[in-house]
């Protein structure tokens, strides 16, 4: 599953992502963008298409697996896992 963050300071509402991967990105009104930050509703291929089409390159997608935190804080769900002790 990919992780996504959109730099909404950069975003100018061109909506290319919402056209190309509507399962993940949605316009809310004419200009505001909402997205699913850890989307598994669409194939990675569509996410990549959406991210590449952003005219201001505001869609940030994992470039690497979180290798290290994966051991220290696996999945980091509510169990409060910590590597401290």
């Amino acid at each position: 599953m990919a992780r996504i963050a959109v730099d909404l300071n950069r975003c100018q509402g061109y909506a290319q992502c919402a056209f190309l991967a509507p399962e993940i990105f949605a316009m809310h009104g004419d200009e505001a963008l909402l997205y699913d930050p850890e989307a598994d509703g669409a194939p990675r291929e569509k996410l990549d298409r959406a991210a590449a089409a952003c005219p201001v390159q505001a869609v940030l997608v994992d470039a690497v697996e979180p290798d290290d935190a994966g051991t220290g804080a696996p999945d980091a769900s509510a169990e409060g896992v910590s590597r401290a002790r």
């Binding site: 909506a15 919402a18 056209f19 089409a53």
Partner: protein, 412 residues
């Protein structure tokens, strides 16, 4: 006699490779000769002006003495139709674009373009299937040209049985965009006018029909819209439909043709695309930088004196923004004359920027991605029969008139 840079851009002899002229042009980021337009050719300056609210797209703001060297090239405007949103400023622009977008894209129609993926693939497959003799292919006639016009027909909801007629009108209008100085311009002008008239009457009839029996297509939804902005008038609808047809068609033809031409000139990239169709995504972005289908934006003007890089562009001046030159600006892109789909951070100007950025961009992207990936996969050992190919006259909507290829066969 030495030609001005402006005339060199317009000179057909330079159509195949205008980039050395742009390079020359960038030495003076704001170029101005005689009573001609102010020509801006560097990336950051163009980008700024595309977001500058002192710049108007409405020709009524042009000073009456501003000369337009493209005037002879421009097709005769359909005087009875109001200007489309491409040539309007806010708030009219915003209202019409919003209304046009309502049945086309998010937030109201988020699945329209995504939902056409299957259809796009089918059209591409059908066109490649019917190519015929693999040793004599004209990619423009057999593929790049029919593909986008079919897509627009499906989008607007033109009945299948009328598509052929629609193609003829589109063809005639495209030809009028591209005056051939040796041809019979008067006769051509009349053809175009007739085509416009017939297309307008056809669409007016179809709109009437769709108002009574609306379907899921874009025209029906435009004709029956009940959004906050109210319905479009029939005149607005006609002018919008004409805009979608003309602006959306020719540009996509050129993008696809330029794409195949560029791939054939860069066989390593073509080979990679054949192995991995996902590469079509960055290829199309780099293509929009490298060979943009709209070379320059010629119809802007200033509402006030605007200073750019120390040059004051006076109020009411004609302004050209040479997108294709900005895309090759070495201050923004390393090694700009190299076609490199692995380039990071390709924020090209190929689809414009700001409020007038290309309306059909997502569709053009998908069409070109599917087209290039499929052509790369199915054409066996393709090669150019002519390089450079013959170009259309048009310096603004620049692209090959024909692209003659040969290949060893067509894969299934």
């Amino acid at each position: 006699m030495t030609q001005t840079l402006l005339h060199q851009i317009l000179d057909y002899a330079n159509r195949a490779d205008p980039y050395p002229i742009y390079k020359e042009l960038r030495k003076t980021p704001v170029h101005h000769e005689g009573d001609g337009p102010y020509v801006v050719s560097t990336y950051y300056e163009i980008r700024s002006l595309l977001h500058d609210p002192r710049i108007s797209s409405d020709a009524r703001n042009l000073a009456s003495n501003a000369a337009d060297p493209l005037a002879s090239e421009a097709p005769a405007e359909e005087s009875t139709l109001p200007p489309g949103f491409l040539k309007l400023d806010p708030p009219e622009h915003d209202r019409l674009r919003r209304m046009t977008n309502r049945p086309f894209g998010p937030p109201h129609s988020p699945h329209r373009v995504d939902g056409m993926r299957g259809e796009l693939r089918d059209i591409v497959t059908g066109l490649i299937d019917s190519i015929g003799d693999p040793e004599r292919i004209d990619l423009v006639e057999q593929f790049s040209y029919p593909f986008p016009v079919t897509v627009i027909c499906r989008l607007l909801g033109i009945p299948r049985e009328d598509e052929a007629r629609f193609h003829v009108w589109a063809d005639t209008l495209a030809a009028s965009l591209d005056p051939d100085p040796d041809a019979d311009t008067v006769g051509k002008g009349k053809d175009a006018q007739d085509a416009r008239m017939q297309l307008g009457m056809y669409l007016a009839g179809l709109i009437e029909e769709r108002r009574k029996n609306p379907g899921d297509d874009m025209l029906s939804q435009l004709a029956t819209a009940k959004g906050d902005d109210g319905p479009m008038t029939t005149m607005e609808l006609l002018s919008t439909a004409a805009l979608l047809l003309i602006a959306g068609h020719e540009t996509t033809v050129n993008l696809i043709t330029n794409g195949m031409l560029t791939l054939l000139r860069n066989p390593d990239v073509l080979q990679r695309l054949r192995a991995d169709p996902r590469l079509a995504v960055p290829i199309v972005e780099e293509l929009l930088r490298f060979e943009p289908p709209v070379q320059l934006v010629p119809q802007r003007t200033t509402l006030a004196d605007v200073e750019v890089r120390g040059v004051t562009i006076p109020k009411g001046a004609a302004l050209w923004l040479v997108l294709a030159s900005g895309n090759r600006d070495p201050r923004r892109f390393d090694d700009p004359d190299r076609f490199d789909p692995d380039r990071p951070d390709i924020q090209h100007l190929g689809l414009g920027s700001g409020i007038h950025s290309c309306f059909g961009a997502p569709l053009a992207r998908l069409e070109t991605q599917f087209a290039l990936a499929e052509l790369a996969r199915r054409l066996e050992n393709p090669r150019l029969l002519e390089d450079p190919p013959p170009y259309r006259q048009n310096a603004v909507l620049r692209g090959p008139r024909h692209l003659h290829l040969a290949c060893d066969g067509i894969r299934p």
